[in-house]
């Protein structure tokens, strides 16, 4: 009986990996072709877009972000976009986040009512001001989490589209123009994600990334590879059939009217960004609203990544639980014919290869050990197969990294390429396995800390800047 189960399990893992590799392969080929087409399209649009634009509100939820908030808003003031406003929501900070912003931008208190189109906690003060011709609004409210702060931002904002971002992120000068390009290309677009790059190690001057350099910290280097890979290896493919399930909370564009109709951000989940995107899919399909959820590879946002194991662990546990909650809440989408490829491919991928992957990786290792002990496994074949899969992963990571470098118009030396190759190897042989164990451990203490998962150290964008913390 044990032998039968082990045999069956090994077969399952073999096909599980084969399916994954096939998916990665398809995704990368389609991704590369799409990137190239997208590049041509962007070049065309650059030349004919003249003054075509729609106004947009930039929402910046902040909780204890005194270290980075002013820099972030400064970077927003330099955006190359004709009409936008900045709405900072101080979500019950216990540090001097609001004071720093009020002083830096000479904000004045205003007494205007806020119409609650989506539910959020009460506010205690509203400040307004103008810097570099851009209106800035600061709302100070009770602590309710990032989703609640974004809901407040939606209520305060005045334009038909909004961009949600983190207070520790910086947008590239043309990021707003690029991400709004998705709406101008297709006005059915209700949401669009941007490309998130790691800001640690970058040289920042006057709230703008002046020069991108690779950081020395190994955790950061591995995350850079991981970010590049995730964007090319799945998101580009999902974008083809309107199947994107994730828009990073660090940088995403949404159509306000649709988000309000769908009920705004869910405050009861850790992964409010993913949950909203899935809900928009469900809402639009259920109500037969023609829609598109897009991904703009040329709209770049720089975000701070954890630079030590402890913070990485906290972040990934939160992400994993967010994924678990979102997929759990909308489980009816899985293989539901009403949702087409979204349910059959995107949802299935996230379920099998993102949610179950950490569990299967650990269980898989146990079964391989068992099969070896029972002598029912061709150990050599299994090892070669596993190594080949990992090797394929290395090639995919490298292709993604090169595609991103090419898109950014950067030049690499031989040494850089060798360094990237080494990192790709390390990312696949070690880092991913560590992440699997971290994700798996997320369930310990889940009930107790469902919505609150520690604090991550924040660093100033300027070299030698002091640290802060974010809930």
């Amino acid at each position: 009986m044990l032998m039968l189960i082990t045999q069956w399990a090994n077969e399952f893992f073999f096909y599980y990996l084969l399916l994954y590799v096939t998916f990665l392969f398809l995704s990368m080929v389609m991704g590369a072709l799409r990137l190239s087409a997208r590049h041509t399209q962007a070049r065309l649009e650059n030349q004919f877009q003249h003054d075509c634009f729609l106004p947009v509100s930039v929402l910046v939820p902040a909780h204890n972000e005194e270290v980075t908030a002013v820099d972030s808003v400064r970077s927003l003031l330099r955006l190359d976009y004709p009409l936008y406003e900045i709405v900072v929501v101080d979500d019950g900070s216990t540090d001097a986040t609001a004071v720093r912003l009020i002083e830096a931008f000479s904000l004045q208190p205003v007494r205007r009512p806020i119409r609650r189109t989506v539910p959020c906690k009460a506010h205690s003060a509203v400040y307004e001001g103008m810097a570099a011709g851009v209106p800035i609004t600061l709302v100070i409210k009770e602590n309710g989490g990032k989703a609640d702060a974004l809901n407040m931002g939606i209520n305060v904002s005045q334009y038909p589209y909004f961009v949600s971002m983190d207070a520790d992120s910086l947008l590239k000068e043309d990021a707003l123009r690029r991400i709004m390009g998705a709406v101008l290309e297709d006005d059915r677009t209700v949401a669009c994600g941007g490309l998130v790059r790691i800001a640690n190690g970058a040289e920042v001057e006057h709230g703008r990334v002046k020069r991108e350099t690779l950081p020395k910290n190994l955790w950061l280097l591995l995350q850079i590879m991981e970010y590049d890979r995730s964007f090319l290896s799945s998101r580009m493919l999902f974008d083809l059939f309107n199947g994107s399930l994730i828009i990073s909370g660090a940088f995403g564009l949404f159509k306000k009217e649709t988000v309000i109709a769908a009920g705004g951000y869910d405050t009861a989940t850790l992964g409010e960004d993913m949950e909203l995107v899935v809900r928009l899919h469900v809402f639009c399909r259920s109500n037969h609203i023609p829609y598109a959820i897009r991904y703009a590879t040329d709209a770049v946002c720089y975000s701070q990544a954890p630079d030590n194991f402890r913070d990485l662990q906290k972040q990934r546990r939160r992400w994993y639980l967010g994924l678990f909650q979102s997929l759990g809440k909308h489980r009816r989408v899985l293989f539901n014919p009403r949702y087409g490829l979204l349910g059959a491919v995107s949802f299935c991928y996230y379920f099998l290869y993102e949610l179950l992957s950490p569990v299967l990786q650990v269980v898989g290792l146990v079964f391989i050990g068992l099969a070896y002990w029972l002598q029912i496994i061709n150990a050599r074949f299994m090892l070669v197969f596993y190594l080949l899969c990992l090797l394929f992963g290395v090639v995919i990571s490298l292709a993604s990294f090169l595609a991103r470098v090419y898109l950014a118009g950067q030049r690499l030396g031989v040494l850089d390429v060798l360094k990237a190759l080494g990192l790709c190897a390390l990312e696949n042989f070690g880092y991913r396995q560590v992440l699997a164990f971290i994700s798996l451990s997320a369930f310990f203490g889940y009930r107790k800390r469902k919505l609150d998962w520690g604090r991550i150290e924040r660093r100033s964008f300027h070299a030698g800047g002091k640290s802060g913390a974010e809930k």
């Binding site: 073999f14 084969l18 590799v21 096939t22 392969f25 990368m28 080929v29 590369a32 990137l35 190239s36 590049h39 041509t40 399209q41 070049r43 065309l44 649009e45 030349q47 004919f48 877009q49 003249h50 003054d51 075509c52 729609l54 106004p55 004045q108 205003v110 007494r111 205007r112 009512p113 709406v183 101008l184 290309e185 297709d186 006005d187 059915r188 074949f381 070669v384 197969f385 080949l388 899969c389 090797l391 394929f392 090639v395 995919i396 490298l398 292709a399 090169l402 595609a403 090419y406």
Partner: protein, 350 residues
């Protein structure tokens, strides 16, 4: 084929994709150089007149959206190149190339519309193509098609195009539409009349854009707009635009409407009262001041704020402002104090 071989093949393809990524950059540089060479050779040919063979080659080149955009950019910099016989040759080449764009994606169609916008005239084929583009889901495509139609200077043609969009329920942004109308090369009065003649067939966003266009371009059509303001069927957003129009072109009848809307907003919407309160600052007089003094006691914050702003804009006598500040209604006093503060003013009398 075993699974291991399959994986090896995948890996090989992955390596090929890396090579592809690296080669794309080089291809682009080559393309840019070729494009520059083509444009340099085309300029003298256009000046002297194109031979039939050159005409065919130009049509073939224009089938590529990138070439069309490159040529459009050149024509925008040097409009003289598209004048006279050269213009006719370009229109003829565009007419031959247009069929290739009918099945292309929106980005390429938008690019071709941009090229057509640089031409002085068009043909029936080209107009049909532009009309098709007006119904695309791409805002770029619709905008460039409107730009091309607007630059032809044919007010009737542009009006018919907007009606075509309305009939197909194309929801184009009123702000963009209004800018397109302002950018059109026909006389504003002529364009306004062409559109007003088919007002009821236009969708609410187009109607709103048209009213705003008339306001910004200084086209006075008070009589027509009075009737629209009275009509119960007029869309809310269009009504707000009409009220703002009568802020630019004061009118006695409109004043009576505005005063009434301050207390009795249409369909009970406070937005009507707020817009009326704001527009009334263009109607100085005792009755306006009295209405605004009453309006400042409204239950809605925005109506109160706009009434306070208008009272100050109309330079209401200091004693009347003081009366509000010291009056029985704490909300009215509060908003007046707030607006005074925001404007950096000081109370004149205490």
């Amino acid at each position: 084929m075993s699974q291991t071989e399959l994986i090896w093949i995948y890996a090989l393809f992955a390596v090929l994709v890396i090579g592809y990524n690296l080669s794309v950059g080089r291809r682009e540089r080559w393309r840019e150089r070729a494009e520059a060479r083509w444009l340099a050779a085309l300029q003298p040919a256009l000046a002297r007149g194109l031979a039939p063979r050159e005409q065919k080659a130009l049509a073939r080149r224009l089938g590529d959206a990138e070439n069309a955009v490159a040529l459009a950019t050149l024509l925008r910099e040097k409009p003289a190149l598209a004048a006279g016989r050269a213009g006719e040759a370009l229109v003829a080449a565009a007419d031959s190339a247009v069929r290739r764009y009918r099945r292309r994606d929106d980005a390429r169609r938008a690019a071709f519309c941009f090229f057509l916008a640089q031409l002085p005239t068009g043909t029936g084929n080209l107009t049909d193509f532009l009309w098709d583009c007006l119904l695309a889901s791409s805002v770029y495509c619709r905008e460039n098609a409107l730009l091309a139609l607007g630059r032809r200077g044919d007010a009737q043609g542009l009006a018919r195009a907007l009606r075509h969009m309305s009939l197909h329920d194309v929801a184009h942004s009123p702000r963009l539409l209004q800018e397109d109308l302002l950018a059109a090369s026909c006389p504003p009065e002529e364009l306004a009349d062409a559109l007003l003649a088919m007002f009821s067939q236009l969708s609410p966003p187009v109607q709103t854009a048209l009213v705003d266009f008339c306001r910004l371009a200084g086209v006075e059509r008070k009589c027509f707009f009075r009737r629209r303001l009275l009509a119960e069927t007029t869309d809310d957003e269009t009504c707000y635009a009409l009220m703002r129009y009568f802020g630019r072109f004061p009118d006695l009848f409109a004043k009576r409407m505005l005063l009434r809307m301050l207390y009795q907003p249409r369909r009970g919407g406070w937005e009507y009262s707020a817009v009326a309160a704001s527009v009334l600052r263009n109607y100085p007089g005792g009755d306006t001041l009295a209405a605004l003094e009453k309006g400042i006691t409204s239950a809605n914050w925005y109506v109160r704020r706009n009434c306070a702003e208008s009272l100050l804009a109309l330079e209401a006598p200091a004693e009347r402002i003081e009366a509000i500040l010291d009056g029985k209604d704490p909300f009215a006093a509060d908003i007046m104090e707030y607006v005074i503060q925001r404007r950096g003013l000081h109370r004149a009398v205490r």
